[in-house]
């Protein structure tokens, strides 16, 4: 394996098959929170494969304001969306509402025959996740879950290096993902991310999912058992886990030790340790691309110009839809994470290593 070969075109879109479509995929963006407004709309403005068609919010005035600012064709309320209004104005939906509400929007979109890009986690519960996968499957619409790590160039190069044996046999994984939700997202102590019913949990389901899913993607393996401990040290986290540390055992005897926090100093990293080498992303999950590569006594650090991770994710979705190929992070893929997360939350209660149902 040639390291230079893998890294010389670090940010290339090795997945892209469509570059200049006759028509771009027009999205209905459902849920106009900080991420949709601050990250998705700007990303789509520079996309050659996607555009904003419609914006959908629970708040009619907000929808109208965002429509005007984003240059969208149409603004809808949630009720209008569910009633099927204006559905000729979009080809696909992007769902970024509270986790527990994803299912309703997916079911409507599937009824309308629209492809679905659903934010991670796919749902607040495994049961909902199963129904989401089933609804899209039954309707024959494409479903992708928004794991932006899959199109992060540094993660993709890491995956190639592992698959070609650069680290020897991978044996251990370390990962962490921490943010300060009150600074990053909202100071509101009543925000949905702190509500057990709406979110399904917090540190683990919202942030621990990053190292968990990245381990699955980079190592091309699935988890078989897991255990974890959830804690909260702040009064605002009465219903959900503020912090989590967890361990996952994967199919090939590889184990991972991870931490995540919804309210702590921001930081992220992801390391694969093998018998002959070691690959680290730090920061890993905040859009940058810094890859440290070690093998034997040699080491190198690659720091490349960051890509727009959201543009990569949406364009990958559009590319799959336009070319008729299946996306890697589909409903079945997301279900495995949900089962692992459920097992870890269960372990935090029982104190036992829990098997992850297949």
């Amino acid at each position: 394996m040639e390291l230079a070969e893998h890294l010389s075109e670090f940010t290339q879109r090795d997945w892209q098959t469509v570059t200049d479509p006759d028509d771009r995929i027009r999205f209905a963006l459902i849920g106009l929170g900080w991420f949709t407004e601050g990250a998705v709309i700007p990303a789509l403005a520079e996309s050659a494969l996607c555009e904003v068609g419609t914006v959908v919010s629970g708040d009619r005035n907000k929808a109208a304001r965002v429509r005007d600012e984003a240059g969208a064709d149409r603004a809808l309320t949630y009720d209008e969306f569910h009633a099927g209004e204006g559905r000729s104005n979009y080809d696909a939906v992007y769902i970024a509402t509270p986790n527990a509400t994803h299912l309703d929007f997916v079911e409507s979109a599937a009824d309308f025959g629209k492809a679905v890009l659903c934010e991670k986690p796919i749902a607040a519960t495994t049961t909902h996740a199963e129904r989401i996968a089933e609804a899209c499957n039954d309707a024959g619409v494409m479903l992708m879950v928004g794991y932006r790590m899959h199109t992060n160039p540094a993660v993709r190069r890491m995956r190639e290096l592992v698959s070609e044996g650069f680290v020897g046999d991978p044996v251990l994984v370390e990962g962490g993902m921490c943010q300060n939700v009150f600074e990053m997202i909202s100071p509101d102590p009543n925000q949905w991310r702190l509500d057990a019913d709406l979110a399904g949990g917090s540190a683990l389901i919202d942030l621990g999912i990053y190292p968990l899913n990245t381990a699955r993607f980079v190592l091309d393996t699935d988890p078989v058992s897991a255990q974890g401990t959830t804690t909260s040290s702040d009064d605002r986290f009465t219903e959900v886990d503020q912090h989590v540390s967890f361990e996952v055992e994967f199919e090939d005897g590889i184990t991972a030790a991870c931490v995540a926090s919804q309210y702590a100093q921001q930081g992220s990293h992801f390391t694969v340790i093998g018998t002959d080498g070691r690959l680290t992303l730090d920061p890993a999950f905040f859009g940058e691309a810094q890859l440290a590569v070690r093998r034997g006594g040699a080491e190198a650090d690659f720091s490349v110009e960051p890509v727009n991770e959201v543009a990569e994710e949406f364009d990958y979705f559009a590319d799959r839809l336009l070319s008729g190929r299946d996306p890697v992070p589909d409903g079945e893929h997301a279900l495995v994470d949900m089962r692992a997360i459920e097992a870890i939350y269960e372990s935090a209660e029982t104190g036992e290593r829990e098997l992850i149902k297949g």
Copy 2:
């Protein structure tokens, strides 16, 4: 708290009370393996507080060779040591034999009224560790266990920063310690570190103890429960754990997620995550001193000239002995690690979170 104040004299020996003793502490070095020969003897050659008095080996010829090379007064076999020969030539013993054999040497040293510096782990089993602590206690001799992290200046600065609130409330710890034992120590597949009876385990007891103990020291807290998973992927690890991932819950609700490997690409790191800041040592446990400090949006990296960690450890021991002060890593301190390690090995068998007996 002033960051500059803590870091401006980064490598100062803030523990030192004796600088120019009338007589240096003369050691009997017991067990002349790679570490004693390659690290301890060179460290003592530059010490103002310690010197080599006697060298002790199971191999008479080796003892004689090392005596001549180190300029020691005397060479003894293990039997001669136990018989008390030449005991007027040393004030203290340093024990670096296989873990399961520490107890015998400690018992003889205690009988002779000599202070003991015992390598970590203190023993291969908790039972032996208890007897070691008891033997020294009963004889009234000082016992210190060789946790060189305690006198690593970067670890000490990290500890000060945490105790003065630099990271806010500490909430999570991440740590890892991996080496390739066949390159680092010996290619011999029959070496004692791979023998369950002599070593008591491998990845966890020999290497996982670094992040575990450093977490206790830096956070000034003790573990209450733990869980872990041990794996082996190489034929040479039939009796002992090649790799381990484990989680520890501490007294204040802080949790740690750690990995260790006895045969994987070398690497070490240690991170404390708090509500307001984050401190990372990387590398952490191989003698270097690199500390990354983050708080809010600010970050700084401190990379200072490495100190001789072994000289620091021996001089700390000598300073405690000469001044009559108790060392922090004494027998009771080491016993807590042994109980945690025993709990993690038990958890790897049972799949359950195990309480750590107090």
